[in-house]
């Protein structure tokens, strides 16, 4: 991939993504951190496009920037104002050390290794003409078990999230108390 457009696009988008991630660390307010995260997600979608992964790119925008970000925002809105300052925990120093060490290790391996990769003509030959159809065939063909398990997982996650935050409404609570009272009367009688 040596055309100027892709090279410039890659470096700009990588810079945007990493700047977004740094913003998540350095932001003073939790909501600012979420907005930096959204910038990082959009930069990542751009990186997917440089890799000819058009379906994954729009799925990333749709799911991450469009849905998960809104979920994060709602969670921040429903939790207190006190801890919205994006402060660091006690483990920031060892955490930063671990993160930086991991990143340094991966960067060193990435730069130094002799990757078994395609280049030149073979790379241009793999051009993914129709990603959505092929991914669809894979999902219901070869990976159908994982697909079904993922759909069951989504169902359980949805039900679990609803059950977890469901508050007993007043009439439900009153009905429960009436039931307990009736059971108590039956025992007494």
């Amino acid at each position: 991939m040596d055309s100027t457009g892709i090279v410039v696009g890659f470096w700009v988008l990588a810079a945007v993504t990493i700047a977004g991630a740094l913003g998540v660390i350095a932001a003073r307010d939790l909501l600012h951190a979420i907005f930096f995260l959204i910038v990082s997600f959009l930069g990542m979608a751009g990186l997917f496009i440089t890799l000819s992964a058009d379906f994954i790119a729009v799925a990333q925008v749709l799911i991450y920037a469009g849905a998960i970000s809104v979920l994060l925002v709602f969670a921040v809105m429903l939790t207190p104002l006190v801890s919205r300052d994006n402060g660091n925990s006690l483990y920031i120093a060892p955490g930063a050390l671990a993160g930086l060490a991991l990143a340094a290790l991966v960067v060193f391996v990435a730069v130094d290794a002799d990757w078994a990769q395609l280049s030149g003509d073979a790379l241009a030959a793999r051009s993914f003409p129709d990603t959505a159809a092929t991914i669809g065939e894979l999902l219901v063909g070869r990976y159908v078990l994982a697909f079904e398990v993922a759909s069951v997982l989504l169902l359980f996650a949805l039900l679990g999230a609803i059950v977890l935050v469901h508050e007993r409404r007043d009439d439900d609570a009153a009905a429960a108390r009436a039931e307990d009272g009736a059971a108590g009367d039956e025992e007494a009688a």
Binding site: L30, L72, S83, L102, I135, A146, L158
Partner: protein, 108 residues
């Protein structure tokens, strides 16, 4: 100059490291979830980069299994985010806080 697989792996590693810093170093539970999402994003980038550049695939459809895997990661990330945020709201209702330093009931 060209852009090769090594560049994408490096970017993925950097974002993963930054995600680790956020996940380990932030006080708010929602911020920790943001770190986890960054880590999952980095892994997605890695998968898609190998699907594009990897020499071990027989044909295009085999290479796109990387993309199918990314779809699964996106799905699981969304489900996990929903459940984790529901739990964070629930913890806030019981404990009046979502800071991980204060939620120490199960600590030694």
């Amino acid at each position: 100059m060209t852009v090769e697989l090594g560049h994408y792996v490096a970017v993925s590693g950097v974002i993963f490291g930054l995600g680790v810093i956020v996940a380990l170093g932030k006080r708010n539970a929602v911020a920790v979830l943001m770190g986890v999402e960054l880590m999952l994003n980095a892994v997605n980038l890695l998968l898609v980069a190998f699907a594009r550049f990897g020499a071990a695939f027989a044909n295009d459809a085999a290479a796109l299994s990387g993309h199918a895997f990314v779809i699964f990661v996106l799905t699981v990330a969304a489900a996990e985010a929903a459940v984790v945020l529901a739990m964070a709201v629930l913890v806030y209702r019981r404990r009046e806080t979502v800071e991980l330093d204060r939620i120490t009931l199960m600590r030694w």
